[in-house]
């Protein structure tokens, strides 16, 4: 399956490599035509997702693999950015996807906003256990359709 992706990044599960994951994805989406502001948000979503794998999936272990894969989708159009799919895989403990969710935003306390950020930025977000072990996060951003309303559906 990994051959289906234009870009595949494998990182050790260390916070110092978060910057590598977001830089790689940031460069890819900038090239697709996303604005500075949107690139920043997409980089943030990737950062939050990888940080969660390190902290929750691997409980801070520093020697485990994390894979970040990227593929543009839809027809890249002169006037508007194409969409993309990002898949993040790990070999961490498997959890029920239903437990992966942020705190109620009204109940202010430190932390508990990462998953909310990811969902807010991406058009589609889903977690699933992988048959071969570990978890998979799939994040999709739809192509921008400038003719129609440009904010997309599944927000």
């Amino acid at each position: 399956m990994s051959e289906d992706f234009d870009i595949e990044l494998r990182l050790l599960s260390q916070p110092r490599y978060l910057c590598v994951a977001r830089a790689a994805v940031g460069a890819a989406v900038e090239k697709l035509g996303y604005s500075d502001g949107l690139c920043g948000q997409i980089m943030l979503a990737v950062d939050e997702a990888v940080a969660n794998v390190i902290r929750h999936g691997y409980d801070g272990r520093a020697d485990q693999p994390i894979w970040v894969r990227f593929r543009p989708t839809g027809l890249p159009d002169e006037a508007s950015p194409a969409g993309f799919v990002i898949v993040i895989d790990d070999l961490a403990k498997q959890v029920d996807p239903a437990v992966i969710k942020s705190r109620d935003l009204e109940d202010v306390r430190p932390g508990g906003i990462g998953v909310h950020i990811i969902q807010k930025i991406m058009d589609h977000v889903s977690y699933e256990p992988r048959p071969e072990g570990g978890m998979r996060l799939t994040m999709i951003k739809n192509p921008t359709a400038p003719r129609r309303d440009s904010t997309s559906s599944e927000r």
Partner: protein
């Protein structure tokens, strides 16, 4: 204080620090230490100048929420200033822009 803090300045009613660099999970534990020290030694107004912070993730924001709560517990104040648009946007997404006192610049922060 660590290399996260570039400037420190006493105020009439508190203290001001300037942060620098990207703040993500690789540096937020250090920021947490620095802020614990700062909130302990600053009874009044704690101003955090983020002009030189191009990027912050939710681990950095969590650290600021914790410091805010610590300041409030001893009736202190915490004010954020100089947030770049990308950094401000994470506060907005998490709806924390109303929880924090966020102002334009240092001058405004001294009076906020």
């Amino acid at each position: 204080m660590s290399d996260l803090i570039t400037s420190q300045q006493p105020l009439d009613d508190g203290f001001c620090v300037g942060l620098t660099g990207d703040i993500d999970l690789s540096r937020s534990p250090q920021l947490r230490q620095d802020l614990i020290q700062l909130t302990e030694q600053t009874p009044g107004r704690l101003v955090v100048d983020m002009t030189e912070v191009p990027y912050m993730d939710s681990s950095g924001v969590a650290t600021l929420v914790e410091a805010l709560q610590r300041q409030r517990k001893h009736n202190g104040k915490m004010v954020l200033c100089g947030l770049q648009p990308k950094v401000l946007s994470i506060f907005e997404i998490a709806r924390l822009d109303m929880v924090f006192t966020i102002v334009e610049d240092l001058d405004a922060a001294k009076n906020a």
